[in-house]
């Protein structure tokens, strides 16, 4: 039971965060994962981060993580050009 997907934290204040998965952004709570920081990848279920994702292990597990990285690089290049 339990769909949970990884996404990267792009904004964080107290226990509220905005996460990004390839340009899709959601508001979530980090109440259950107080140790997470900006830039961390977290696993999200029902609007809450339930775990910090270890990035190296994650690349093994989720194709999405590799895509998150590629997407991030693209975005960085775009903003450098702007």
């Amino acid at each position: 039971m339990c769909l949970a997907v990884p996404a990267r934290i792009i904004e964080l204040e107290d226990d509220r965060a905005v996460v990004d998965a390839l340009g899709n952004r959601w508001n979530i709570r980090t109440t259950l994962t107080p140790e997470v920081r900006m830039g961390d990848i977290v696993l999200i279920h029902a609007g809450f981060a339930i775990a910090k994702v270890d990035e190296e292990d994650a690349k093994e597990t989720w194709q999405l993580i590799a895509e998150l990285d590629a997407f991030q690089e693209e975005q960085n290049k775009k903003s450098e050009q702007d």
């Binding site: 039971m1 339990c2 769909l3 949970a4 979530i28 709570r29 109440t31 259950l32 994962t33 107080p34 696993l43 279920h45 029902a46 609007g47 809450f48 339930i50 775990a51 910090k52 994702v53 270890d54 292990d57 994650a58 093994e60 597990t61 989720w62 194709q63």
Partner: protein, 359 residues
């Protein structure tokens, strides 16, 4: 990736050969059932390896009495029902939240949305349909604590949260069971930790592997169980290290403990299981919808001919039920196993009617 699949299949084949009998692996989690079907894995498994669908579909194991109460509350003018999409089509005695056509039923993606509904509708009581296992319970607990600290009194929950390990113990403790090993739920394990399965291994000598939901995770999880069975081992193993730790998420566990206590609960098909259901503790009891509205959950009589209970225990496959595909279909479901997107019967109907591995 193809190489890894090939290696895993070799492992499964050799385990089946070595043991010389059928191997029964229970996929505890409904999301595993759906993922196994969506990825078409069953036809790729050896003939003698059988996957049993377990009780890890929170919607499926919710007793019909609970569903009848949600419908009763949906009928009230002074209530707004806030629910995850999963519950909308589950049938009670008299229709479902969907067929009731009520404007006061709102689909939410998080418990926070339910709380926001309460804040924005001060003249109604929002009832949050709190279904799910340990993965989902912390989110409910946070919402209850916030309702308490911020004085949002027009909010309450109908708690259907259940605990996975007590159910696994009940299943493997039953003398009729056929379970050789457990494929353990990845995301529940994020919360409870892989150590939570140690009692299963120690008391019942059944291997437990914690796996995620991507197809390679499932394939390698099943292969890991086969390896243990072939070696006569029984250990807890996790291949979902990206997010699962032995102790689990302590913060989430504490929040559950602060709000809830485990009590005996009724599981559809499994009967009453001790300490398997979460109930709000006394200091939060005013947020319990049953108290708020003076209701009692009346266990419903089993729907005639429905064998969801046996499916949930892994005793039969959906096609063994006389109602399957005939009287019971996704368009006219009899039991929750057919309605729930995770239910074994629904997954089997939607994905299952295919051929075996052609090697």
């Amino acid at each position: 990736m193809l190489n890894r699949i090939y290696e895993a299949q070799k492992l499964m084949d050799s385990a089946c050969q070595k043991l010389g009998r059928q191997i029964n692996i229970m996929e505890v989690c409904g999301t595993h059932t759906v993922a196994i079907f969506r990825n078409g894995l069953r036809p790729t498994l050896p003939e003698r390896l059988k996957m049993l669908s377990g009780p890890g579909c929170p919607v499926c194991v919710t007793d019909q009495g609970y569903i009848d109460i949600t419908l009763q509350l949906a009928d009230r003018e002074d209530c707004i029902i806030a629910t995850y999409g999963d519950m909308i089509r589950v049938p009670g005695k008299d229709g479902s939240l969907e067929t009731r056509h009520k404007p006061n039923v709102k689909i939410v993606l998080s418990s926070e949305d339910a709380l926001t509904l309460a804040k924005n509708n001060p003249d109604k009581t929002v009832v949050f349909i709190a279904v799910g296992f340990e993965t989902t319970a912390p989110a409910t607990a946070v919402a209850v604590q916030e309702a308490d600290s911020r004085g949002i009194e027009n909010f309450c929950i109908l708690s259907g949260h259940k605990l996975v390990v007590p159910a696994m113990e009940a299943l493997v403790g039953d003398k009729n069971h056929k379970i050789d090993a457990f494929l353990c739920p990845g995301h529940v394990s994020v919360i409870i930790g892989s150590n939570a399965y140690i009692p299963i291994v120690e008391q019942f000598a059944r291997p437990c592997v914690v796996a995620g939901f991507e197809p390679m995770q499932i394939i390698e999880g099943i292969a890991g169980l086969c390896r243990q069975l072939a070696d006569g081992a029984a250990e807890v193993e996790s291949i979902y290290d990206a997010v699962v730790t032995p102790e689990g998420n302590r913060t989430a566990q504490s929040i559950i403990d602060e709000c809830f206590e485990p009590v005996d609960g009724l599981w559809r098909g499994l009967g009453s299981i001790p300490n398997s259901t979460l109930k709000l503790k006394a200091e939060y009891s005013r947020f319990d919808a049953l108290n708020r509205f003076g209701l009692k959950e009346i266990p419903a009589e089993d729907l005639s001919g429905c064998r969801c209970g046996e499916v949930l225990c892994g005793l039969i496959d959906p096609p063994d039920c006389a109602l399957f595909e005939k009287k019971c279909t996704p368009d006219s479901p009899v039991g929750p196993c057919m309605v729930s997107s995770e239910g074994a019967c629904s997954a089997w109907y939607k994905y299952g009617r295919g051929r075996k591995r052609s090697s």
